[in-house]
Amino acid sequence: MAIHYSEIQETIRMVQMESLDIRTVTMGISLRNCQDSDFDKVKDNVYNKIVSYAGQLKPVAEQVEKEYGIPIVNKRISITPIAEILGDLTVDQAVELAKVLDKAAEATGVDFIGGYSALVHKGMTKADQTLLQSIPRALSETNRVCSSVSIGTTRTGINMDAVGQLGHIIKETAELTKDQDSIGCAKFVAFCNPVEDNPFMAGAFHGAGEGEAVLSVGVSGPGVVLNALKRYPDADLGEVADVIKKTVFKITRAGELLGRVVAERLNVPFGIMDLSLAPTNAMNDSVAEILEEIGLESVGTHGTIAALALMNDAVKKGGAMASSYVGGLSGAFIPVSEDNGMIRGIQDGSLTLDKLEAMTCVCSVGLDMIALNGDAPAETLSAIIADEAAIGMINKKTTAVRVIPVVGKNEGDMVEFGGLLGRAPIIGVKPFSSEKMIKRGGRIPAPLQALIN
């Protein structure tokens, strides 16, 4: 069917003026067959497998973006959670393996490799423990490796012993990377109900239910949604949802087309489309500004949760119609440092940590890229993780915590992480202690919601 003049114009406008892009194509690679009793062989196997599968990822994705005229911003790799192949290796060896991953990522030209991970939501194996202990060094001695730890699920409850350890791990990572504003913490996520096919960093890993290799796509486009809404300043909220739905439908279709072409050319199966609205620091590419366009003076004020719930749901509905294989996190991301509107909200005092927590009940992930005062105690960080995990566990959704206690910085200071990670105003944590609760340890039992069989 012939394409109409105005439709061509719309697509061009979305790309050139409204920051429509494919946020990431992420290749998931299983490393399960890389195990060996000889550590040198493990390192060789891991490096060779990654490079042989993903060696062409970047050039192929770049060729496809050229042909279709839609930018693919990031090319990334996710791998089997490394704790699953660590076996009896030591902490030093685990760090060495992280460096091998870093080298493989560099060789393939991807910007991040995710999956330096462990799933410990119920209990911890010896290898899981080794991995957890190695995280601060692994993140400070590599550039492209991302790490995540699952500490809770709706079906298992929350492993509070692991949550307790994570507070210290985040503090130590912050300390080891204090020369760069504790940036190591920006590469670490604590998850409740993680998904196995998330293409977005820092939380991507290639789950146990996945095949040898798979290509998944994360689309984005807050700028496109924002501009679409600007054309309907007087629409009622039902119509607002409709505008978002239609816009996301188009974005998703473009993303799926490009993803399938890349997958076909790389000869790996297409996995899923993650249709998350992910902001960037580019002008107008902000989730907060969409909420403000819906009718809030400043993000974080009363009404924010309702607006976000409406938006998140409309994104899912539009995307679900556009692609048969919707997966990952699919919804809206609210990373503070990567969203100019969120940064402004905090500086203006309308957006607080408490409100951000509440927002995570109705959007796709959790507390993301939030800079905290450097002297926040480990137990407070653990308690923040526990709160988020509880929200995820009870609401049967993914929640995550990626906070950066920036060494030497206090509430009101500004930190620059640079690049995609952006910049963030420091938010102060509450001065009251959560130490006793965290020190109790143990496991928060699975909620009634788990008993669904």
């Binding site: 069917m1 012939a2 394409i3 109409h4 003049y5 439709e7 061509i8 114009q9 719309e10 697509t11 061009i12 790309v15 050139q16 050229k66 042909e67 279709y68 005229g69 839609i70 188009k250 279709r253 473009a254 799926e256 087309l257 490009l258």
Partner: protein, 90 residues
């Protein structure tokens, strides 16, 4: 099915835009299937559907268009038609 691409040209109206752009296409042996053009507030916009049987020539074509863009201060983009089909047709 035959691969087709959409070429769009936007810029300040001036003499010779169509001539220069279509010359580049002819030099690359690309057939034009459809062409439409308007002027909106002094701005020239043109869209063409062209045959794109050999994607290997895309690189050369883009380079040639870059020179025209610089010469005449235009924005020219080339995109495979599939992306428009995906976005605007169910």
């Amino acid at each position: 099915m035959q691969k087709r691409a959409v070429v769009t040209v936007v810029g300040k109206d001036q003499v010779g835009i169509i001539s220069k752009v279509t010359t580049v296409l002819a030099e690359h042996k690309m057939n034009i299937h459809d062409i439409s053009q308007t002027i909106l507030q002094d701005y020239f916009t043109m869209m063409m559907i062209v045959e794109m049987d050999n994607k290997d020539r895309l690189e050369d074509l883009l380079e040639a268009f870059e020179r025209v863009e610089d010469d005449m201060n235009l924005t020219i983009s080339v995109q495979l038609e599939d992306v428009f089909q995906a976005m605007h047709r169910i």
